[in-house]
């Protein structure tokens, strides 16, 4: 994982690496499908779905998109800003809960 090969045109990763990641993505997708197939519910379902999602996203970004071999300056320029989305998620969670509360309180159920 050396830095500084970003502009280097030759990145001769073995094809085997890509096949390996491909295989893992298949396995992980299969696992997330099985979560639905076996009707897992509650926090276990929630946890497994997010776990498989993050691992798959990480594999795609790190290996397929060569992020693991990019310089740190670019890695942070790309990966840090989306963290703002998490703040946005928190804000909209409050907003949505408030909307639901007012709907239940004033509009009646349904």
């Amino acid at each position: 994982m050396s830095a500084g090969t970003a502009g280097g045109p030759e990145q001769a990763h073995p094809i085997r690496l890509y096949l390996l990641v491909w295989g893992w993505l298949f396995v992980l997708s299969g696992c997330s499908y099985l979560v639905d197939y076996f009707h897992l519910q509650g926090s276990l379902r929630w946890f497994l779905i997010l776990l498989f999602m993050i691992v798959k996203a990480g594999l795609i970004v790190a290996v397929f998109m060569h992020m693991a071999w990019e310089r740190l300056a670019l890695v942070y320029a790309i990966l840090v800003p989306p963290a703002a989305l998490l703040v946005f998620v928190a804000i909209m969670t409050f907003e949505a809960s408030y909307t639901l509360l007012t709907r239940l309180a004033f509009a009646g159920l349904g």
Binding site: R45, F52, G110
Partner: protein
């Protein structure tokens, strides 16, 4: 952060650490990513902006789903298909996921063969990627047709919260558009690779620039991003 100032007194012959390089590049007051390929850097910046587009779609989906008093339709049943008499939950979406992941795999290999200057294999793998992408769009069109026949509209559906339709069409529609654009670009670049444009230095018809095999990698970045977005849509919209 003051730790960095202290460490700078250390002997200069040691190779700068990753963090040192990071702060140096950002505080250089000249240009970031010095020596990097600007084509690749700009594609990354574009993908970052696209991340926010899809992020906002998924956020608005979260917001309407959390705030509705009507139960959300169960995606597991809505997207079920009957195959050979048995009802398979979400089966079409699962197949679409595998198709798109496979296309990402072939694209990654196309990039690797491009850097090995293997013209024929690169072009063929890109064609396979494009075909898999087209298959994905075809299956999505089938899914849309099925749901529209069943009465799903952006303003309502037979099973529950009205917001289901608008979220579904907006998110999968935008993603499908991205896949379609990717398929077109794949066909264009695969033709260039096949013709040997990157060896002969033939200028592009649109930009009049000479291409290199890096173009395959840049297109690959876009294609993998499309796959990446699907990972999130699959988890958050179909499985949640």
């Amino acid at each position: 952060m003051t730790g960095f100032a202290f460490r700078s007194v250390a002997p200069a012959e040691t190779r700068p650490s990753q963090w040192r390089r990071l702060s140096r590049e950002w505080s250089a007051d000249r240009q970031a990513f010095g020596g990097a390929s600007w084509r690749k850097a700009m594609m990354w910046i574009f993908l970052l902006s696209d991340t926010f587009v899809f992020g906002c779609f998924l956020l608005s989906y979260m917001t309407v789903r959390m705030s509705t008093t009507v139960p959300w339709p169960n995606p597991s049943e809505v997207f079920a298909l009957e195959i050979g008499g048995t009802k398979m939950p979400l089966i079409l979406i699962a197949i679409m996921t595998f198709v798109l992941i496979s296309s990402s795999g072939t694209m990654a290999m196309a990039v690797a063969f491009g850097y090995r200057r293997d013209r024929v294999r690169t072009a063929l793998l890109m064609i396979v990627t494009a075909l898999l992408g087209a298959t994905f769009v075809g299956m999505q069109a089938f899914e849309w047709t099925k749901l529209i026949h069943e009465g799903v509209r952006p303003w309502g559906n037979p099973w529950g919260a009205d917001q289901f339709g608008s979220s579904f069409f907006m998110i999968t529609g935008f993603h499908g558009t991205h896949v379609t654009i990717g398929v077109i670009l794949l066909a264009v670049v695969a033709r260039k690779v096949w013709r040997g444009d990157f060896e002969t230095g033939r200028r592009g018809f649109f930009t009049s620039q000479r291409g290199r095999y890096e173009n395959v990698e840049i297109l690959g970045l876009y294609w993998h991003f499309v796959d990446l977005v699907w990972v999130f849509i699959f988890a958050l919209f179909y499985l949640w």
